[in-house]
């Protein structure tokens, strides 16, 4: 794929007898945000650590910018990656600028001060550069941690729950920053528990629960996994209408007085259903297609997986 920056092929990670991530495969391209959803302990952080070259997969492979990530190449490839860890991890006794300058040295940045100021400006905390990191609010600390991840201008950005525990305004600001990363052509992988955030920011969404349960664009994910739910209000009792519609739906069909509720119907067939009703002399008052929410899809997939397990 053109612009592909990350390729994970069947990566598996075991910790003793416990499998944290099992045969996970996906690609991530420049200018794309992939939101990684999953319950606690689903392997999201482990996945990020494998992609960030902090730990190696037990099986499978990770390619970063077309190069295989191994024990030998990890230190070099980490230069292409900016990582926001689960906690901001700032040195509280040092100023914000001093925190970032240390990282500028760790990335061998030639003009560290400029790089630090640029990164702080991106996240809107340049005016707090001289403050002690320990004096910042949680939201500001998270912004500084994101600035740290962007300090060396990485092509790939890995974010572990970037807005967890933040107030709405801080979360909004961080979401804007993340959207800006896509606009700059960076590849972003973001772990989150916030389904709305995943839906609004993610070009694609991956649902992980040790194994990859689903991976697609948000709309497609809702459609393909649950089908479309359609409510049809007709004049009079809906019994006759139900007889006509029956042949179109493999899923549920419910009659509630003058209302037909079709669940799991193929969205492409809805016009045919309407045409058949009209041909059958049914007068239609209103058709309401209703897709299931991402939350429904997520819970259905995760619960199904847990039942199987």
């Amino acid at each position: 794929m053109a612009g592909e920056l990350v390729r994970a092929q069947s990566i598996t990670r075991r910790f003793d007898s416990r499998v944290a991530v099992d045969a996970l495969s996906f690609e991530l391209s420049a200018g794309e945000i992939l939101a990684l959803l999953g319950p606690n302990g689903a392997g999201k952080t482990t996945t990020l650590r494998m992609l960030g070259g902090l730990i190696l997969p037990t099986r499978g492979s990770v390619d970063i910018c077309g190069e295989r990530l191994t024990g030998r190449t990890a230190a070099r490839l980490r230069r292409a990656i900016g990582m926001l860890t689960e906690t901001p991890g700032l040195w509280d006794r040092l100023s914000v600028r001093r925190n970032l300058l240390t990282y500028a040295h760790l990335y061998n940045i030639t003009k560290p001060r400029q790089a630090v100021d640029r990164a702080l400006e991106i996240v809107g905390v340049l005016d707090r550069a001289a403050d002690l990191a320990g004096s910042l609010s949680k939201g500001l600390r998270q912004r500084v941690a994101i600035a740290r991840a962007l300090l060396h201008n990485p092509q790939i950005v890995l974010l572990d729950e970037p807005t967890a525990g933040l107030d709405p305004a801080s979360a909004r600001h961080i979401r804007d920053v993340i959207a800006g990363l896509r606009a700059e052509g960076r590849a972003v992988l973001m772990c989150t528990h916030n389904l709305t955030e995943a839906e609004s920011l993610g070009d694609r969404i991956a649902i992980l629960n040790t194994r990859l349960l689903a991976l697609d664009e948000p709309d497609a994910l809702r459609r393909t996994l649950s089908g479309t739910r359609v409510e049809i209000d007709v004049e009079g009792a809906a019994g006759d209408a139900a007889t006509i519609v029956k042949s179109f739906t493999a899923g549920g069909l419910e009659v509630r007085g003058a209302k037909l509720v079709l669940t799991s119907v193929d969205a492409n067939l809805v016009p045919d259903v309407i045409a058949a009703l009209v041909r059958g002399g049914i007068r239609i008052r209103r058709v309401t297609p209703e897709q299931r929410s991402l939350e429904d899809v997520y819970l259905a997939l995760v619960n199904e997986r847990e039942e199987v397990a």
């Binding site: 860890t85 906690t87 700032l90 006794r93 040092l94 990335y107």
Partner: protein
């Protein structure tokens, strides 16, 4: 080490120095140890005789011990009896100053390593291009440098204090091969043992104070040697110090091997809970 290693290590060492210097919990115990290690020598050798109106050389046993020590340390033989006993006592107590590198290294390293572990600042560090060996070198360099600086400053104050309050020329008798070996060979080696022990202990404990308590185990041999020296009325000579240094070098090599095994990215991330 890969290209740019010196910049990465230097950056982290500068950070650690800045952070440790702002952390009284890390810096106060070594400073107090330095003071506590110096005070008894002056109390016993200078203050007590002054209060009692006697000379230390009046104690026959001490005088005999000082004369025996003069066979090992010729610089003592050139002194008058009272100065000779004073110099003998200060030579004995100099060994006590080796507690400074033990306590200093352990306290500073515990904060530099376990402090990062508690603050959860290690994972972002591990996500950078720094290699684990570079990280290990950086994390031990700042405590090592600070400890050596403190140990040598303590020695300066000790010798300066002797010059100020003891008999003339006692301080000269102190500045010889024995003290050089003690503070420029044995001291740094003890400091390294303490530092490396801190790294190994870091795997198991989550509190710098617990690490310091465990690390206090290496205070015992130093204190034991000091007490044996005091009770036996002898001084640990240059050859004995060199033998101790050789032993410490071996211990250091073993701890380096153990530390390198413990200080791995995956260990730090997954097992340092």
């Amino acid at each position: 080490m890969t290209p740019g290693a010196s910049q990465r290590i230097g950056g982290l060492v500068a950070k650690d120095l800045a952070e440790l210097s702002r952390n009284p919990g890390a810096t106060v115990p070594p400073i107090l140890t330095a003071i506590a290690a110096m005070v008894p020598a002056f109390l016993i050798t200078i203050v007590t005789p002054k209060i009692s109106g006697e000379h230390v050389a009046d104690a026959q046993e001490l005088q005999r011990a000082a004369q025996r020590a003069a066979e090992l340390l010729p610089e003592l033989g050139l002194l008058a009896p009272n100065a000779q006993v004073q110099a003998f006592m200060f030579q004995q107590f100099a060994l006590f100053l080796l507690l400074v590198p033990v306590v200093g290294s352990m306290a500073l390293a515990a904060h530099a390593i376990i402090g990062e572990k508690i603050a959860r600042t290690l994972e972002p560090l591990l996500a950078t291009p720094i290699s684990t060996i570079e990280l290990l070198v950086a994390k031990t360099s700042a405590p090592f440098a600070l400890t050596l600086a403190l140990m040598w400053a303590t020695l300066l104050v000790y010798v300066g204090g002797i010059a100020a309050v003891a008999e003339p020329d006692v301080w000269r008798a102190l500045v010889g091969t024995r003290v050089v070996v003690m503070f420029f060979v044995v001291g740094p080696l003890i400091s390294l043992v303490s530092l490396q022990l801190a790294i190994v202990i870091s795997l198991r404990v989550n509190d710098p104070r617990s690490a310091q308590q465990l690390g206090a185990l290496i205070i015992l041999p130093v204190t034991g040697l000091f007490v044996a020296q005091l009770m036996g009325g002898f001084v640990v000579g240059v050859n004995a110090l060199l033998a101790i240094a050789a032993g410490l070098a071996v211990v250091n090599a073993g701890l380096l091997y153990l530390g390198a095994r413990v200080f791995q990215r995956e260990n730090i991330l997954m097992r340092w809970k």
